[in-house]
């Protein structure tokens, strides 16, 4: 698995290793852990690895050029020494130690019940911490995976102004807020453009459609209220 050239082969070999380890757990009177190993580790984690390998790392093989000189040889030598150290330590401690009994104690009620009793009484705080960890991990994965696609659709301010000036929008500038050009409170009083004419966008279509009844007296119009005289140009 470690030295396979294709990363997919590595992933499949690791999945096989995990299945074998699950069998080893079941042999040692840990059936719950064995099944959790198959379901969670092999079924979820390794499939996640395979998905990401398909997305990302399938084509990239390890470059032969060594960045640190002699690193691979040194790593092999040190790894071999480490293995010898561990095996020697464990073998020395266990083969010369007096033999111990190997009770397959599961506690009353079976393996799962015993595990549950331990998790929810003695290791309850660790359980709560791991649940917080899982929430954090899910949030982190969502932020990392979706941060790219959301941020690229936004048009900047400069691009928006250029698009407006090119005529891609209805008007160059946004409509003014209510009351900016108003000379009266009524929605029937239209806004005036800088040259004195009525702005067509400020006329409400509903009011425009209602039939007009003339008043008895002459009401002052918007031009009178703005103190413009006839012939007075902006």
């Amino acid at each position: 698995m470690v030295f396979a050239r294709n990363a997919i082969h590595s992933a499949l070999c690791l999945a096989g290793t995990m299945l074998s380890l699950a069998v080893l757990y079941m042999i040692q009177n840990a059936p719950f852990l064995g099944f959790v190993q198959i379901i969670v580790y092999t079924g979820a984690v390794m499939m996640l690895f395979l998905f990401v390998l398909m997305l990302v790392g399938r084509d990239s093989s390890d470059s032969v050029v060594e960045v640190l000189r002699g690193q691979r040889l040194a790593a092999l030598v040190i790894g071999l020494a480490f293995a010898v150290l561990l095996v020697g330590a464990i073998g020395g401690a266990l083969f010369t130690a007096p033999s111990f009994g190997l009770p397959a104690d599961e506690g009353a009620g079976g393996n799962v019940t015993g595990l549950g009793a331990l998790i929810f009484t003695k290791y309850l705080f660790a359980f709560e911490l791991t649940s917080a960890l899982l929430i954090t991990a899910a949030l982190g994965a969502m932020v990392l995976a979706f941060a790219q696609t959301k941020g690229q659709n936004k048009r900047g301010q400069r691009a928006t102004v250029i698009a407006r000036l090119r005529g891609e929008h209805d008007r160059i500038s946004p409509l003014p807020g209510p009351g900016v050009f108003a000379t009266g409170n009524s929605v029937a009083v239209p806004a005036l453009l800088p040259d004195g004419s009525i702005a067509p966008e400020s006329i409400s279509s509903i009011i425009d459609a209602t039939p007009i009844e003339p008043f008895d007296e002459q009401l002052p119009d918007a031009r009178a209220l703005t103190a413009r005289r006839e012939g007075d140009e902006g």
């Binding site: 690895f49 990401v52 015993g114």
Partner: protein, 99 residues
């Protein structure tokens, strides 16, 4: 079956995973070797739990599995976002902070 053999197997798996972390360049394969090391530790915990006759080792192995699963999720998300921006999943290419 003597439990010592399981401990030896676990030690071998751990050292194989350690060699893999040091030797390989692909970020995902390095990550898989880290997972192999975690599995080796799980095997050690289960073996000791059987040797001591209690279930504490299995509970610890269970928590190690949970933490490893969460770590895989976040680590793979990081690797994916690095690959999206840099177009390379080799761990030698992420050297911007190198002096």
């Amino acid at each position: 079956m003597s439990p010592t053999n399981y401990l030896l197997l676990s030690a071998l798996l751990f050292s194989i995973g350690a060699v893999g972390v040091l030797v390989r360049r692909n970020a995902i394969v390095v990550f898989m070797c880290v997972e192999l090391m975690l599995n080796a530790v799980n095997l050690t915990l289960v073996t000791f739990s059987r040797m001591n006759g209690g279930l504490d080792g299995q509970v610890m192995a269970f928590f190690v599995m949970v933490v490893a699963a969460a770590e895989v999720v976040v680590g793979l998300a990081i690797i994916m976002s690095i690959f999206r921006t840099r177009r390379s999943s080799s761990i030698d290419d992420a050297n911007l902070l190198k002096y």
